[in-house]
Structures are given as C-alpha cells and as structure tokens.
C-alpha cells in the first residue's frame, strides 16, 4: 500500500432539504469516510468555525455512522429566528451551513481541523414535508439538485462512499420498496442502500467512472425504474516511476547561436502520474534535477531548464506527465570557444516511494568556434555621381552573419592605398559605413556629395574590416566603388536636398533631388490596390530600401530620408502602424512633412477620367 494519508471524505459537499414539523431524531443525510485498512474506525463529528451559528444545537451527528439527524423538532418559530437573507425578504427557504470532520480516534474538540471538512448545506423550507401523493418518484430516489461528485484515492481500501437513499423521505411512502443498482467495480449494499466501491482503484487504468445508477421503486401494482448518472473521480498518487520514451542521450552542436538563454535540445522524461500546478506548495510527483558535472566551466556555461506538461497517452484517455529538460546557455559564448563535453543530468521523482525513482540524461555537447570571414574576395558597387547624401551604395556582411546571435560584428572602412596624395585622400570621404545595433549588415552610403562630384575623384577603393566585438577575430576584404556619370564641376557648392516623402504626385516626385536618392532623383511607387494596402502610392529616395517596412541604419540617420519607414508619430488617415516605427499599410498615397505622415486617397486620381473622357471611352467601345 502506497502513501497512506489516513481517513478522508470522498465528497466535499452534501446537500439536503429540511421542513417545518420534522420531528427530533429524523435522519437528514449520511457522510462517509474512506478507510486505509479494515481495522480503522472513523469517528464523525459536526464541527464549527470560531463563530458557532445559532442553529448548531438543532442537529447532531452519529459518531459511528456519520448520520446527521435532527436534535429537535423544527418549528415555524425556528425558521423566523434565522436571519433574513437581505435580498429575498419573503423567500420561503433559508440556507444552513454545517461542517463535518472525521478522526481515527474520539475527540472533544469541535473546531474543524484540516482541509478535508465537507460542507453540509441544508435548505430549510418554511412548509411541511410534502406527502407521498405530492412527491414524484424522482424526488424519492435521488437527491434534489445535488451536483457533487465523489473523489476516491487510488490504491486504497474499498468501502462505502455514499448513501443513496434520501433519508428525509424514508417514512413518506411506507408502501413503496426502493432499491438501487450499479455496475462493477461499484455495488449497492442492499441492507444500508450505500454505494460501495468493491476493490481498490487504479487511476492509471481509469480516471473516471461514469456510473449509471438505477433506482427501482416497487409499489403494490407496478415497478418503476429511474436512472441517473454519477461520475466518480479517481484521485492520483505518485505510484509510478519516471521512464524514458526512447533515448536518454542527445547530440547538441553549438555554433552561430551563442547567446545567453539560447535553448538547444530537449530530453523528455515521462511519468504516468499527474503533476498538479495548483496549489503551488503541493509536493505530489515532485521532480528534482541535478547536474552531475563538477567542472566550473560547464556549470557556469550550461543550465538545464525543466518544465512539465500534461499529455494524454496515445493509447487511451489517461493523462500523464511529461517533464522536458532543455539545455540552455547561461552566458554568451565567445567566438573562439571550442570544446566537446558530456553533460549528465540526474532527474529524481522525489515523492515516488519505490526504488528506481531516478533517470539519468546525457547531453553530448560540441561547441564549435565561429570563423569570421568574407565570402566575396572583392565587393564591386557602382554609384552614380548624381547620388544624394545618404544614398545607399550597397551592403556587406561576413559569412553566415545573419545566423549570428550572442556576439556582434562591427565594420569599418579604410582607404586601400594609404600613400595617395592628400587631395585624393579627401575623395574617400564620399562614402561611409554604418550599422544598426541589432543588425549584422554593414550599410555603405554617400556621406559627402561634393567629393563624389569632384572630377579628380575617380573610382574609390576601400578595405572593409569586420571585427568581432571581443576583438578576438577580424577579417577584411576589398571594396571597389565605380563612379558612374559625369563629374560636375559646377555643383561644387553645398547642395540642398529635400525630402522625397513630401511629394504627393508622380510628376512632382520625380523632379525632386531627394535626400538619400541613389539616382539623384526621387522615385515614385504607384499603388494599385484599393483599400489600405502595404503597396501604397508614395515617393521614395530608393524603392529597394524605402518603404520596405523597416527603418534601417542609414534611414534612421535623418528622419527626412524615409519617414514612411521611420516615423514614430501618429499617422493621419487610413493606415496600419508598423511594428515599431513607420507605416505598415496605407490608404491611397502616403506623404510626410518632416516626421508627420498622412495617408489619403487623392481625389485627383479618380477625376483624371472626367465625364468628357468617359464619353470618349464609351464612344470608342
């Protein structure tokens, strides 16, 4: 026998109705306690909270049988004595609450102890008991509006769990014979009409018994059968050892993702017992895991995160617990760290009473170093000399950079040939590189348009150096920027660039020398969809980067470059906001003055084809 916890009530709630005029000694209901052994004897008591109610003396409980009965005849004056329920002034029913307790030995204390004190709810009706003629058979057979279901602990001693007869109605129809019936492993004791469980139950076999109770009423003339259902739940205890469903070992390779809290492989341990999440202090089926490695590097670097979930076994409908143990990184790993190890994790079902309540898990971990290198030997970009300041030239990235997590790579530009004249040196100010803190891309952009347009400045050759943040590794590659178009001596004075986003029409847009424009002129995007669309009409410095729903490192340098992607202000008109910044979708044309953006359908678009035009089209057709 496992984990005996002593006597307990299989039911938390009992209800019955009492009437005026019922004499002293009338039985009302019977409570039952489940036993741990045949030798155990329950002792039943009514018990009270600190404030004992006025009606406490009206009832008594039989110490041996658990039968609650009247201590006095109930009078109308008793009903009047009880406090009014404020909401229903003339309501003919009052509710009395009693509690019961059960102990293995006699006691003299009458305060409720422990959690297992069922509530006995009595409805006191200000009327006399209905006579046989006024009582239908349903009323005689089954308790009225009793919705409580019994709960039985698995692996326990069998016995009686519920009184089926309505004790208050015993004498009402003396000529009737009432008997009950139910299927195994439950039965009805014919002498006492108690529902009995005939054998210990196993939750892992059946969690719930949906009983069909049959009540047979035999009168002089006819036999009537009435049916009701009763669900008996089986409570769980920790009587199963943890087991593995397949493997106890998993291979883990850690390379590009080296960030703290990154999670890797999961090993699962199964347990046929349940794990409750409430109350939180419960210790039933409690699992404790221990890392067996003593190496401080391993202890500082890895952790096992244990979670559990409930699952129904594929074979049937019995719930079980799955404990998942996931390998997580406790810190960021450096790019050079390189190691192979086995991490052993011992899982212990601490409340399992038998031997073999433990399972050993193995994580075979390989930490690979991350090489920092460029795939391209030389990057080649072409750039028109007409490009505006902040025009994007291209972007670069070391090999696998988009998979990197937990460490960063920064880029910087250097002049390839350091022996050039000071005049040519100044040409290299034309281009800069930038990077957003969360992004692995390095973005090349026009920094100095004056240098770009100067005739002396020919193709630009740089070296880009990628450096890992802890300066353990670096890589470099060549960048050649071919300058296209005429060098312009005339426009050497500081040019003024406007924001493309201000233009509301194609014609205006394409005439503007916009900030960030790669070709020197703004580009128009014509939306075609009706309604609010991600493909809204708008004017942009470069349609490849703006608006693409993402405020990149160059765009965030100046709000005037691409407010469509970068605005943080409220947008006026029909639109959908971007996740953090910008406009995700807009209605008609979206345009912005500084950071303030508007989306609206341009009525001009509809008016392009006026009545005259429609007539012409109609005639043509």
């Amino acid at each position: 026998l496992l984990g005996s916890t002593g006597l307990y009530f299989p039911q938390n709630e009992y209800t019955e109705t009492v009437y005026v005029g019922q004499p002293a000694g009338t039985p009302i209901l019977q409570v039952h306690a489940m036993l741990d052994s045949e030798s155990e004897r329950p002792h039943f008591y009514l018990c009270w909270p600190i404030r004992i109610p006025s009606y406490s003396q009206w009832f008594q409980m039989d110490i041996n049988t658990g039968i609650l009965s009247l201590n006095k005849s109930l009078e109308e004056s008793d009903f009047a004595l009880l406090p009014q329920s404020s909401r229903r002034k003339s309501w003919p029913v009052k509710k009395l609450i009693l509690s019961a307790m059960v102990l293995p030995k006699p006691t003299r204390k009458l305060q409720c102890i422990g959690k297992n004190s069922p509530r006995l709810t009595l409805y006191f009706v200000n009327a006399t008991v209905p006579q046989c003629a006024q009582t239908d058979m349903e009323e005689l057979c089954f308790p009225h509006r009793d919705t409580s279901n019994p709960h039985i602990m698995e692996n326990r001693f069998p016995g009686a769990l519920r009184q089926l007869r309505r004790l208050t109605r015993l004498g009402i129809c003396p000529n009737y014979t009432i008997s009950y019936n139910t299927p195994a492993p439950f039965a009805v004791n014919e002498n006492t009409t108690e529902l009995v469980v005939t054998a210990p139950l196993d939750r892992e076999e059946s969690e719930i018994y949906r009983l069909l109770l049959v009540c047979t009423v035999l009168t002089e003339k006819i036999e009537t059968k009435l049916r009701t259902s009763l669900d008996v739940f089986v409570n769980d205890e920790d009587d199963n050892a943890p087991y593995l469903n397949g493997t106890d070992t998993v291979e883990v390779v850690i390379s590009f993702n080296r960030s703290q809290d990154a999670s890797f492989a999961t090993l699962s341990v199964y347990d046929r017992d349940l794990t409750a999440i409430y109350p939180k202090d419960q210790i039933h089926n409690k699992y404790v895991g221990t890392m067996l490695n003593t190496d401080p590097w391993i202890k500082d670097t890895f952790d096992i995160k244990g979670t559990f979930r409930e699952k129904k076994a594929a074979s049937g409908s019995i719930r079980e617990t799955v404990h998942d143990y996931q390998l997580v990184l406790k810190r960021n790993l450096y790019v050079m760290e390189n190691r192979t190890l086995q991490l052993d994790y011992l899982v212990n079902d601490t409340t399992y009473p038998g031997l073999e309540g433990t399972v050993l898990l193995h994580y075979n971990i390989t930490v690979l170093p991350v090489p920092i290198r460029f795939t391209n030997i030389t990057y080649l970009f072409t750039l028109t000399r007409r490009a505006s300041v902040y025009a994007q030239v291209g972007r670069i990235c070391v090999e696998n950079c988009l998979k990197f997590d937990g460490f960063g790579v920064t880029y910087r530009l250097e002049v390839a040939d350091k022996n050039v004249s000071a005049e040519l040196q100044s040409c290299y100010a034309a281009i800069s590189i930038t990077q957003s803190p969360t992004d692995m891309w390095g973005l090349l952009y026009v920094n100095d348009t004056e240098a770009l347009r100067r005739p002396q400045c020919q193709d630009l050759q740089y070296v880009v150096i990628a450096q890992e943040e802890h300066k353990q590794l670096q890589a470099s590659t060549q960048i050649l920027i071919v300058l296209d178009g005429e060098a312009d001596k005339a426009s050497q004075e500081n040019q003024h660039f406007l924001s493309c986003a201000e233009s509301r029409q194609r014609g205006d847009c394409e005439a503007v020398q916009g900030l960030g424009a790669t070709t020197g002129r703004c580009q128009w995007r014509q939306g075609t969809e009706k309604g609010i669309s991600e493909n809204y009409s708008t004017c942009s410095p470069d349609l490849r980067t703006c608006p693409d729903g993402f405020c990149d490192a160059v765009e965030s340098k100046d709000m005037l470059i691409c407010p469509q992607d970068c605005t943080t202000e409220n947008v006026i008109g029909g639109h959908e906001k971007g996740l953090m910044f910008g406009i995700k979708a807009g209605y008609g044309t979206c345009y912005c003055y500084s950071e303030k953006c508007f989306c609206e359908k341009d009525n001009v678009e509809d008016a392009i084809c006026d009545d005259m035009c429609k007539t012409i089209i109609a005639t043509a057709l």
């Binding site: 309604g531 609010i532 008109g573 029909g574 008609g588 359908k601």
Partner: protein
Amino acid sequence: TSVQTRGCLLKEVHLNVTDLGLGYRTKEELIFRYCSGPCVEAETNYDKILNNLTHNKKLDKDTPSRTCCRPIAFDDDLSFLDDNVVYHTLKKHSARKCGCV
C-alpha cells in the same frame, strides 16, 4: 483665442466607418460630430479691415483667412475592428466643442 457664438454650432450625423473615406473595411458605425455655422458675430476690426481691403482689391491676389467655425476640442478616440479582425483607433476624428477661430 476663440469665441463661442450662436452661429457656429456642433452638429452630429450617424455614419458607417466606411463613409469616412479612410479606406477601412468594417461594419462598425459611429456618431460623427462637426462644427458648422457663420462666424460673423466673432469678427473684429481686423476682419472688417481685411474684408474692405479684399473688396477694394488692395491686397492683389492674396486672400487671407477669415474667422471660421472649427473644433476647439475633439471627441474621445474611436476604436473598431475591421473585417480582417485588426484593431484600429481613430484620434481627433470628431468634434466635441466648436468655436470661431
């Protein structure tokens, strides 16, 4: 600086959100309040002078703005679900109080 007058009044109309012409697709409705009415009573010497100058063509092509009936406070935000079960919130979309400004 604004002056509440008898002429400039808050009016309301019951509309579908789609009537607003903002492109939202939804079956939701709203009460739209707007400001309407003359602002003659709120005019000052400044307005009279402007009126005279415009009439006598002393201001060439320039026609400066006159006193007009506008919201001086807005209704609470309006939130609604569109047909794709996306929430939208309209701000400053409907007048609460009007004035000649």
